[in-house]
């Protein structure tokens, strides 16, 4: 049994509030042969500057330090790529550092940027993330990703990271999904929803108008996961500018408060020992006493079915932002839907639903922009950008892209950034005739989860409109 000390469970207390001022992103694609990585990074930066009516040169004058998220040097065949990007952005002589935490790299980059402002080190920072996954064949890409598992104990086993995750999916499927056809359909519904939302996003690489049957008939990757249950492999960049309050209001009249927290767990799932479930503010100590009775095999926590890192990121971040019940207190979320089943697992880890009941978030229609059962707005829409299934997973950029997307909803500027025909044309993409505005009306608070592999690192980022802060609990 693992126990945590009070010191380890201390809720972070920042020295001063931090604000998201702007953000931007490039086009995302499976391959972008016409552009070097620095061109994509500059595309993202220029979009961020234009979003607040600044030139790139004007915005750069405010930046004091830089945080660069780039998961895999191997993919780009360029060590210290961060230095190259920093140079191409013309940001010398500012201090900069590279951050890599697997799939959570984007979120971790925001975490570092957030702390730099909160501590007083910098008043304005750049968080930029990217990935270039198109310069090796897919099977070599899979080997590189598998190299992020334990190279002696896991990587030689098939050199396929999806497999290391699929054993967790299998356990959740059998214990909490009870191998029910209805659960399998709920998984498929997530793929249909997110790929469908991607159709409204000109940046998105994997838009698809598909049905549950299409997902359930797609090729098996590792049962119960099928091809359309799995996320994309991508190229692209995203960035965010974080500031202290004074600088934020110099740059814009509408900055958003940002909170970021992180959790971790063993790199190998094999090493996970039992522990009591750390409780979120909307859970009670007795809540899970009968979990093993209701779901035989589900009493081992976190075992192969829960992500402790996600639970701990939410544990810290909810209390930093005053969130008690995410479904009530938040207006939208962007979750790390690397696989449809891990999306369901995350609903439980971050308290949208109790452990064992994640599927009801989808089945209730709460996760939709418009609830398909009621025709009314979904209670907590998720992954309106298309998520990792439909938009992209350019690893170092993903967590930043999610956060920028949430910001655009809270700023009420989602349609402006997704509807413009010139952007669709510039990206060489066809805007669908049934393009729909997915702006969440009245959005004031949102959450992004950035997650690494089988759960070694997870970050939670909460954006809050300053006029709609919650009391810290």
């Amino acid at each position: 049994m693992i126990k945590f000390s009070d010191k380890q469970l201390k809720i972070p207390q920042m020295q001063r509030p931090v604000f998201l001022v702007t953000g931007g992103m490039s086009k995302f694609g499976r391959a972008v042969p016409e552009k070097r990585t620095e061109e994509l990074v500059i595309d993202a930066f220029v979009e961020a500057a234009e979003f607040i009516d600044k030139s790139s040169a004007e915005l750069k004058e405010y930046i004091h330090s830089c945080y660069y998220g780039h998961f895999a040097d191997h993919f780009g065949d360029q060590l210290l790529g961060e230095a190259l990007i920093h140079d191409r952005l013309g940001l010398d002589p500012l201090g900069n550092v590279g951050i890599k935490t697997g799939g959570a790299t984007g979120g971790s980059t925001l975490w570092e940027a957030f702390k730099a402002v909160a501590s007083g080190y910098s008043d304005c920072v750049l968080a930029m993330g990217w990935e270039r996954m198109d310069e090796v064949p897919t099977d070599e890409g899979n080997n590189y990703i598998a190299s992020a598992a334990d190279k002696d104990w896991e990587t030689p086993l098939g050199h396929i990271y999806t497999g290391y995750y699929a054993v967790m999916a299998q356990k959740y499927w059998q214990v909490f999904g009870k191998e029910e056809e209805s659960f399998r359909r709920t998984m498929a519904e997530i793929a249909v929803k997110n790929r469908g939302y991607a159709r409204m996003n000109p940046h998105a690489q994997g838009p698809m108008k598909i049905t549950v049957e299409d997902v359930m008939n797609s090729p098996v990757v590792a049962y119960p996961l099928r091809a359309l249950d799995c996320c994309l492999m991508s190229v692209g960049a995203a960035c965010a500018i974080l500031c202290d309050e004074k600088t934020a209001y110099e740059l814009t009249d509408n900055p958003l408060m940002i909170h970021v927290a992180a959790g971790s767990h063993t790199l190998r799932v094999a090493d996970r020992r039992n522990m009591e479930i750390p409780l979120l503010p909307n859970e009670s100590p007795d809540q899970y006493k009968d979990l093993g009775d209701r779901f035989p095999g589900g009493d081992r926590y976190p075992g192969f079915t829960g992500f402790l890192a996600a639970r701990m990121a939410a544990y810290y971040c909810y209390r930093m932002a005053g969130v008690v019940d995410p479904t009530e207190d938040l207006d939208l979320v962007e979750l790390h839907d690397a696989f449809t089943i891990s999306d369901i697992q995350t609903y439980e880890d971050i308290g949208i639903r109790p452990y064992g009941e994640g599927r009801t978030y989808v089945e209730s229609g709460d996760c939709y922009h418009t609830n398909p059962h009621t025709g009314k707005p979904g209670k907590l829409p998720s992954n309106l950008c298309g998520g990792l299934l439909g938009c992209m997973h350019a690893v170092g950029a993903t967590g930043i892209m999610q956060t920028v997307e949430i910001g655009q909803h809270i700023w009420g500027r989602w349609a402006e950034m997704h509807e413009d025909q010139s952007k669709w044309d510039r990206f060489g993409r066809t805007k669908p005739a049934d393009w729909t505005n997915l702006q969440v009306e009245g959005a004031n608070r949102g959450l992004a989860i950035s997650h690494a592999g089988v759960g070694s690192h997870v970050t939670a980022t909460i954006l809050v409109h300053p006029d709609h802060q919650l009391e810290r609990n």
Partner: protein, 196 residues
């Protein structure tokens, strides 16, 4: 680069002794688009990395001898005192004391069950396992951790009793020297070179 040319390493008096080729470069090729415009170049090369097992070496050497080794924290002041770790951990994750090596072979033969599994036809580059790959995550009685490996015979199921087999004939000294088969499997069914 031929197998004979490929780099070999020995350690003598605490230093690496390298023989043969550890890297080999090839001429690059241009990449053109359909309009004859230069888009980039290929960068072909072979590289052999050198990797030390350190304190885990007994585990990987043990597999070739038909032994499954774990470790145990025996620090009486540590909360993990008595905990057995398999995967083998050199140091206790709680007190960071040096763990004691324990032979888990008999425990694995008597009481190993499949905690979870997956089957896939997909692999990454450099895979050497036959497809479909059947991963099994194996739990042992009294052990808090769950070891990942691969099943060589049969169809995996949660709760299935399995026993270890070892590549003792020509060990690779990697985790691939350990595999699992359903309890009751005949010797004639297991892969060539492996023994119970």
């Amino acid at each position: 680069m031929s197998t004979a040319e490929r780099g070999k390493v020995r350690v003598e008096k605490g230093r690496y002794r390298l023989d043969g080729k550890f890297h080999y470069g090839y001429p690059n090729d241009p990449i053109w688009n359909e309009d004859g415009k230069l888009m980039g170049v290929t960068n072909p090369r072979d590289v052999t990395h050198v990797h030390m097992y350190g304190g885990e070496a007994p585990f990987f050497e043990g597999l070739g001898k038909g032994k499954l080794l774990g470790t145990c924290c025996d620090n009486p002041d540590c909360e993990a005192d008595g905990s057995i770790f398999i995967p083998f951990r050199i140091h206790c994750p709680d007190c960071l004391g040096k763990n004691t090596i324990v032979d888990m072979t008999d425990t694995a033969r008597k009481g190993a069950t499949v905690h979870t599994f997956m089957t896939t036809e997909r692999t990454g580059a450099f895979n050497t396992l036959p497809k479909p790959i059947r991963f099994v995550n194996v739990e042992f009685e009294g052990v808090p951790t769950i070891l990942m490996g691969y099943l060589s015979v049969g169809k995996p199921e949660i709760g299935m009793k399995v026993v270890p087999i070892f590549n003792t004939a020509s060990p690779t000294y990697t985790i691939l020297d350990l595999s699992w088969v359903p309890d009751g499997t005949n010797e004639s069914e297991i892969p060539e070179g492996f023994t119970f």
